[in-house]
């Protein structure tokens, strides 16, 4: 099953040690076939609203850093516990911050 691990914008910036450690962690996840995709997001974006056929696009929202998603990793794991364990390992390296773990609905749900 797949989980999307997300980090919020309040994650502390990486110093050199953390950078190396995180690199190793990501490489290990890839090697084990767990990490399917990963990436970072710009802090600003657009809001799209559709109401009765009318589509509006506006700048923003300009949310607080701790509420905005800053990065994500899509992982393929056997259980929720594995996802949580990997998230735990991530935060051991990343330090202070916050994020979310959500399961991606897949073929097994149908």
């Amino acid at each position: 099953m797949r989980y999307l691990l997300m980090t919020n914008g309040d994650t502390q910036p990486a110093d050199e040690t953390m950078y190396v450690e995180m690199g190793k962690f990501v490489a290990e996840l890839s090697q084990q076939g767990v990490l399917l995709a990963t990436g970072g997001l710009e802090s600003t974006g657009y809001t799209v609203t559709s109401r009765d056929g009318e589509i509006t696009i506006t700048d923003g929202p300009f949310a607080e850093a701790k509420e905005a998603i800053a990065g994500f990793a899509l992982i393929d794991v056997r259980s929720k516990e594995e996802a949580v364990e990997l998230s735990r390992r991530f935060w051991k390296i990343a330090g202070n911050g916050s994020g979310r773990i959500q399961r991606v609905i897949g073929p097994e749900d149908f």
Binding site: S30, L36, D76, S79, E81, E82, E85
Partner: protein
């Protein structure tokens, strides 16, 4: 009370959560831990035992102390401590372990987790690869290789493996115990095989991984969730192997193949769990992420620059499918080329079957069937349901629906997958309903067991001939009543009423049976009238009676009757004679292409009948036609204005005078001649009958 209860429940849930976490960590780490330990103790069985000891320690300590920061290293450190204790004991008792024990003496004797982390980081890759090779060692039976690999590298419990393979737990446990014992007894080295045997050993590893994948991939909805989990296990093993052995194109080939097959997971079954064939899948539901991973893996395989092996070729075929945005855009010639390569490397019946399917798509069903038909006697495919399923499909495309239906039914019998069976039976029913051909329908009818043999024999005479006359390949639903009637008239029009009725009832019975089969079929006997047996007493007009006729009635009747008797011509023909077409000198007259021949009796009567007329109908009605009912000019006498004598009128007059029909008069002549010993050929020439069969009753009556 309440806070206390609340607290208790939370604690309970936490304990269970911790156990789940331990299980998750175990599955993630046990492979590496066991691999590292095996290098130390040179025995996978022992290594697993020590790793299990570490697991027990984790289950004891983690729920209270919490999960350590680096659980893998924690497990490794504990297990290693146990292993060292063990080796020390062995050293004291058994000199054969001297070398290993000395090695360990120089190894850091420490419980320091940091050291374990170092070690895991540095060595674990090679150890994992060695563990994969030893778990998949060809000295073990395939089922044991699969179980051991899932156990040692996937961290699956015996129970989970048993459920995944729908096997009994003790059976799986036995397999694993025996496998570990075999590896120890045969002293299989813990190593990555050297080049001479690398290819074969790698093939064995890939086979195990692909087998695990397929076991999971073939599972259907509603089955134990462990089965689909196998796909993920296989994919992970493959991805790990690809990192550990990056220079082996076949590893990347297998990974690509599995990624692409897995990308179709959501699209390959319908709402009821029925399988959806590749070409009918909604490609929008294919997982583009996995497809891209598949492309990338295949690219890595190709970059190595070695000739493509079986997995690379299969992956290339899967990629070709994935590249087509719609089924119609599939590059079949390319797939055929890839299969040709695959058949050369791996000429298994299954590969040849798939080659046949690709050829059918590229060059038409007949070309495909030619290849597929070479596999029909293949013993290994006798129970393989895709073979009859594919044949059924090709036969259906060729319009051979009855054969197709039989193949679909056979495939349904063979498959173990219930939704697939339902689908195949539906296809069989469709093929039977839309496509049953007359010949097959007749065969089916004649093979029914609820009718006695004598009746079947009688039915067979009728229906086989009918089928021949109309055409056995003609679809049953295109046979019309008028076509049946025409064929029957042609074959049995002159037969005795009893015979005619027997044929008719056979056809009616066949029709009723076909309706009962739910086949779309017209009322085949609708245009066949039942004939009254009293209509025929053919040979009952004896010679004396016939002779007596000549004394009766007027000149016209006498001439007609005599002509009919002497010529044995059908009454309709005789009544069509025109004066201008008579050849009185030679006792004959022409109707169309046909000559009517008579003898002296008729010849003596004709001049009186013609009496000065030169053209027009020979036999005339008594009255002129009513003005409103003007007949065609050919049927009117230019001299008298009277019309041609009609068949109905002639028949009526003959019946009133004698009680017989005109047909009986003709039949009497043939019977008499037959009795006089005329051969069938002469009777045919005389009567204009097209076949000797219809004269059988006359020649037999001799």
């Amino acid at each position: 009370m309440r806070p206390c209860r609340h607290g208790v429940r939370i604690e309970h849930v936490t304990a269970r959560d911790t156990h789940r976490t331990i299980d998750a960590v175990w599955k993630m780490e046990s492979g590496r831990v066991i691999a590292g330990l095996t290098r130390m103790v040179r025995d996978v069985g022992l290594a697993e035992e020590f790793a299990q000891d570490a697991l027990v320690a984790a289950l004891e300590q983690w729920p209270t102390a919490g999960v350590p920061d680096n659980p893998g290293a924690w497990l490794m450190a504990i297990a290693k401590r146990r292993a060292i204790d063990h080796l020390r004991r062995v050293e004291r008792h058994d000199r054969t372990h001297e070398v290993i024990a000395r090695d360990l003496a120089t190894a850091p004797e420490t419980s320091d987790i940091d050291a374990a982390i170092e070690e895991l980081d540095d060595e674990v890759g090679d150890d994992l690869l060695r563990l994969i090779f030893i778990s998949c060692h060809p000295v073990l039976p395939t089922t044991a290789r699969v179980a051991l690999t899932l156990r040692l590298l996937g961290g699956l419990t015996t129970d989970e493996i048993a459920r995944a393979f729908l096997a009994a737990e003790p059976t799986v446990a036995q397999r694993i115990v025996r496998a570990k014992r075999t590896l120890a007894e045969r002293e299989i080295p813990f190593e990555v095989p050297a080049v001479p045997e690398l290819a074969e050993r790698l093939a064995s590893v890939l086979e195990v991984i692909y087998l695990i994948f397929n076991e999971g991939y073939s599972a259907t909805a509603g089955e134990d969730w462990m089965r689909p989990t196998l796909c993920l296990e296989a994919l992970r093993l493959g991805r790990i192997l690809a990192e550990l052995a990056p220079r082996e194109p076949e590893v990347h080939g297998l990974v690509a193949l599995m990624e692409i097959q897995a990308s179709r997971s959501a699209a390959r079954t319908g709402p009821a769990g029925e399988p959806i064939p590749l070409l009918e899948q909604n490609r929008g539901r294919w997982d583009q992420l996995l497809i891209r991973r598949g492309f990338a893996a295949l690219l890595r395989a190709k970059e190595i620059g070695r000739p493509a092996g079986p997995y690379v070729l299969q992956a290339a075929i899967a990629v070709t499918h994935a590249q087509a945005h719609t089924a119609a855009e599939t590059d079949w010639p390319q797939i055929v080329r890839l299969y040709e390569g695959l058949v050369r490397l791996l000429p298994t019946p299954v590969v040849r079957l798939n080659h046949g399917v690709a050829v059918a798509m590229a060059s038409g069903p007949l070309a495909g069937l030619t290849i597929v038909d070479t596999l029909v006697d293949e013993p290994s495919l006798r129970q393989y349901h895709p073979l009859p399923s594919v044949r059924g499909d090709l036969l259906r495309q060729l319009g051979r629906h009855a054969e197709a239906a039989a193949e679909f039914e056979r495939a349904a019998e063979l498959t173990r997958n219930q939704p697939e069976r339902t689908l195949l039976l539906e296809r069989a029913a469709t093929a039977r309903a839309t496509g049953v051909i007359l010949g097959d329908a007749v065969d089916g009818f004649l093979h029914r067991s609820d009718v006695d043999a004598e009746t079947i024999r009688s039915y067979r005479q009728t229906l086989r001939r009918l089928s021949e006359a109309i055409g056995g390949r003609v679809p049953l639903d295109s046979v019309t009543p008028s076509r049946v009637a025409a064929a029957c008239e042609e074959m049995w029009g002159d037969a005795a009423a009893r015979t005619w009725n027997r044929h008719r009832s056979a056809i009616r019975s066949f029709h009723a049976w076909a309706v009962a089969q739910d086949w779309p079929v017209a009322d085949l006997a609708a245009s066949l009238d039942r004939r009254r047996p009293s209509d025929e007493r053919t040979s009952t007009i004896d010679r004396d009676t016939v002779e007596a006729l000549w004394a009766q009635a007027g000149s016209r009747e006498r001439a007609l009757w005599r002509l009919l008797y002497e010529s044995a011509a059908r009454a309709e023909i005789a009544l069509s004679l025109d004066i201008e077409n008579l050849d009185l000198a030679n006792n004959r007259g022409r109707v169309g292409e046909q000559w009517v021949r008579w003898e002296s009796g008729t010849a003596a009567l004709l001049p009186g009948l013609i009496r000065g007329r030169t053209r027009g109908p020979l036999f005339l009605a008594d009255r002129r036609p009513a003005p409103a009912r003007t007949p065609p000019p050919d049927d009117v006498c230019p001299t008298t204005g009277r019309r041609r004598l009609s068949y109905e009128r002639a028949e009526y007059l003959f019946k009133r005078a004698t009680g017989y029909t005109l047909r009986q008069l003709r039949d009497a002549r043939l019977a008499h001649l037959g009795a006089d010993g005329w051969p069938a050929g002469d009777l045919m020439r005389l009567s204009g009958h097209a076949s000797p069969r219809r004269l059988g009753r006359y020649t037999r009556s001799r």
